[in-house]
């Protein structure tokens, strides 16, 4: 009844190429944007913080999804590239007073370069060996930032780089400080929207289709003339860029940068987000980010609620959280391998035909 696909009624090229082809979809899209923009007016600081974390995860998972879901590669150490991005932004702003407008893209670029560096040898091997190589990259990079005092400017066992208050300085306008949760939220929202826009459009272009071809059957793709190594490296670079931006976002979120948030645990979380959300789709990355960020919070509430009856749960919260994480990921892998996005599509296609059943 809210149908969208009865026939092709387009009368102009612009209408055919449009992203939203049906009025109601456009309406839904713009109201969602409006809701996102107006969120800080209704949400308190706590939930804005949660939203910021979700947005950071969204950027990172879109990048990871480009690599894993669309190009068919794998990266078990993606947090290391975020580490690079975070440290870039911290070092450039604290040591050399680089403004945010320059530092943030720089974080992405440096992370992309590091990604290329680790990608070049790794991409010459397939599958499993790439997974292990990226795992190694994670640990090597973590060790590197802890011991490269000549670069980080830390000395004598100090571990944290404190960043000066970030501020957005556009030419001709006074500097906008990005120190409150709401300001950070808008910055992050902008970055996330840009990431989604780029990601969705990537797969309407030649590069995107080449990546999908490589994922589906690389020998056939090569036979068609697609240079596998070049495109896989490109996917690696793009996803490392995203990771670098996400790392920089995390750095702004925390205000101070150490190597501690960027561990293998974070890499695994991002992988879980794209798997739970749906591999190979941008909305899947978003769903996964939201779900897996809110899951520990929900668990925390549940454990606190049950505290009078089952006090030992609260003591073991971190371990129970790990158990729940494992169960959720395994559950999705075994029962719904295409993730939350598939569930969403199922619901949507059900309502497309409603009240008819077929």
């Amino acid at each position: 009844m809210l149908s969208r696909k009865t026939a092709v009624y387009k009368t102009s090229y612009a209408a055919d190429l449009a992203v939203q082809r049906v009025f109601l979809a456009r309406l839904a899209f713009w109201s969602a944007i409006a809701a996102l923009v107006l969120l800080p007016l209704v949400a308190g600081r706590y939930w804005l913080n949660v939203a910021n974390l979700i947005l950071i995860a969204v950027v990172a998972t879109i990048g990871l999804n480009i690599l894993v879901g669309y190009a068919g590669s794998i990266s078990v150490g993606h947090a290391a590239f975020a580490l690079v991005g975070g440290f870039t932004v911290a070092i450039t702003s604290s040591r050399w007073d680089v403004p945010m407008l320059l530092g943030l893209p720089l974080a992405g670029v440096v992370a992309a370069l590091v990604g290329a560096f680790f990608g070049i040898p790794s991409l010459r091997v397939k599958g499993l060996y790439l997974a292990i190589a990226t795992l190694a990259a994670q640990f090597i990079l973590e060790w590197f930032v802890q011991h490269a005092d000549w670069l980080t400017g830390l000395a004598g066992g100090q571990q944290t780089i404190y960043m000066p208050d970030p501020a957005l300085t556009l030419p001709g306008l006074p500097a906008i400080p990005i120190t409150t949760e709401a300001n950070r939220y808008y910055l992050f929202l902008l970055l996330a929207l840009a990431g989604v826009y780029y990601g969705e459009n990537l797969f309407r272009t030649r590069i995107g289709r080449a990546l999908i071809a490589i994922r589906d059957h690389d020998v056939a793709a090569q036979a068609m003339g697609i240079e596998i190594f070049r495109y896989k490296l490109l996917a690696f670079i793009i996803s490392s860029f995203y990771a670098g931006i996400a790392g920089a976002m995390l750095a702004y979120h925390l205000g101070a940068v150490t190597h501690e948030p960027y561990t293998i645990i974070l890499s695994i979380q991002w992988l879980a987000m794209i798997i739970v959300g749906g591999l190979g789709s941008i909305p899947g990355a978003i769903f996964g980010s939201v779900f897996l960020t809110l899951l520990p919070i929900g668990l925390r509430e549940l454990v606190d609620f049950l505290r009078p009856y089952l006090p030992f749960l609260a003591d073991r919260y971190a371990n129970i959280r790990d158990m729940l994480f494992g169960i959720v990921v395994l559950g999705f892998l075994i029962l719904e391998p295409e993730g939350l996005y598939k569930l969403w599509r199922n619901i949507r296609s059900y309502f497309e035909l409603w009240p008819f059943s077929y």
Binding site: V125, A136, I320
Partner: protein, 293 residues
């Protein structure tokens, strides 16, 4: 010079213990082409079971040992049946993520049941160190080393038996193996059961040395370097790789750490890993099968 010898001897001992854990990886990979990211956690589980049975319930050593092996084998079979069986034929990232999720689950479940503090085995060995080639070695290490070598020899012999050859056949080509009458399902279950038992032995040995807590799981990560260096599908490679990595760690810790401010001891295996992947991806003893892009 004797310092180097001392480091090499100690490194070899530790390396044999790494080899034990690596053996579990190799067994699972050999049989089912699955890299088991949860091997470290299975080691941890073996350690916890051993400690709980001996220290908390006070069972005599042989009984506790046998029971730990039995339970670990059972867990291995259950894991294979519930987690790996539904995921046959799926893309690599799903399988990797499944074992990672399993690892996270076990890592969370064990302290939930038995508490987060480090648990210690009741003492079994005298305390005075023994001198080997001029290097002091504690008796615990030595006993663990001997035990590890024994176990590895048993495993090596196993692969010459009919069952062992059947497992290798399944690893080579499942369809061909099935067509000559080998039950692929049973081989998978068996390989995971054995991996569980090997992990349990490793857990007990490491648990005696280090105490049983979360750290045992991190061993699993270090063992990746061993496995890649030695070759993912080679038992001999696991042993040689383990010893090499053990020696390398000790030497790196002694000679490079002071230069770069520490921590290199843990990173050196990973750097070796990347180098090995670039230069000789199938490892020292693995079969040259991996595809290059």
């Amino acid at each position: 010079m004797e310092r180097v010898l001392e480091l090499v001897v100690q490194g070899s001992l530790v390396g044999a213990l790494y080899a034990l854990v690596a053996l579990g990886f190799v067994l699972v990979y050999k049989a089912s082409r699955v890299i088991n990211f949860a091997q470290g956690e299975l080691v941890m589980m073996g350690g916890y079971l051993g400690v709980v049975l001996t220290a908390t319930y006070g069972l005599p050593w042989p009984a506790a040992f046998a029971l730990t092996l039995a339970i670990s084998a059972l867990v291995g079979i259950i894991v294979e049946r519930t987690v790996l069986r539904p995921l046959i034929g799926r893309p690599l990232v799903s399988i990797v993520m499944a074992t990672i999720a399993l690892a996270t689950f076990i890592r969370g479940a064990l302290p939930t049941i038995w508490g987060p503090s480090t648990m210690a085995f009741p003492p079994l060995f005298p305390r005075e160190p023994v001198m080997i080639l001029g290097a002091p070695v504690s008796q615990v290490y030595l006993a663990a080393f001997v035990f590890t070598i024994l176990f590895i020899v048993v495993c090596g012999a196993f692969f010459k038996t009919r069952l062992g050859i059947a497992m290798q056949a399944v690893a080579d080509n499942q369809r061909a193996a099935a067509s000559v009458g080998i039950s692929v399902r049973r081989v998978f279950a068996l390989s995971w059961a054995i991996a569980g038992m090997v992990a349990a032995v490793g857990g007990i040995v490491w648990g005696i040395l280090l105490g049983v807590d979360n750290f045992l799981a991190l061993l699993g990560l270090r063992v990746f370097a061993v496995v890649i260096l030695g070759g993912l599908d080679s038992v001999v490679g696991a042993i040689v790789g383990g010893v090499l990595v053990g020696i390398l760690e000790n030497l790196a810790g002694a000679y490079v750490d002071p230069l770069v401010g520490g921590g290199f001891r843990d990173t050196a295996p990973f750097i070796v890993l990347v180098l090995a992947l670039m230069l000789r991806p199938y490892g020292l003893f693995g079969r040259e099968e991996i595809e290059r892009v």
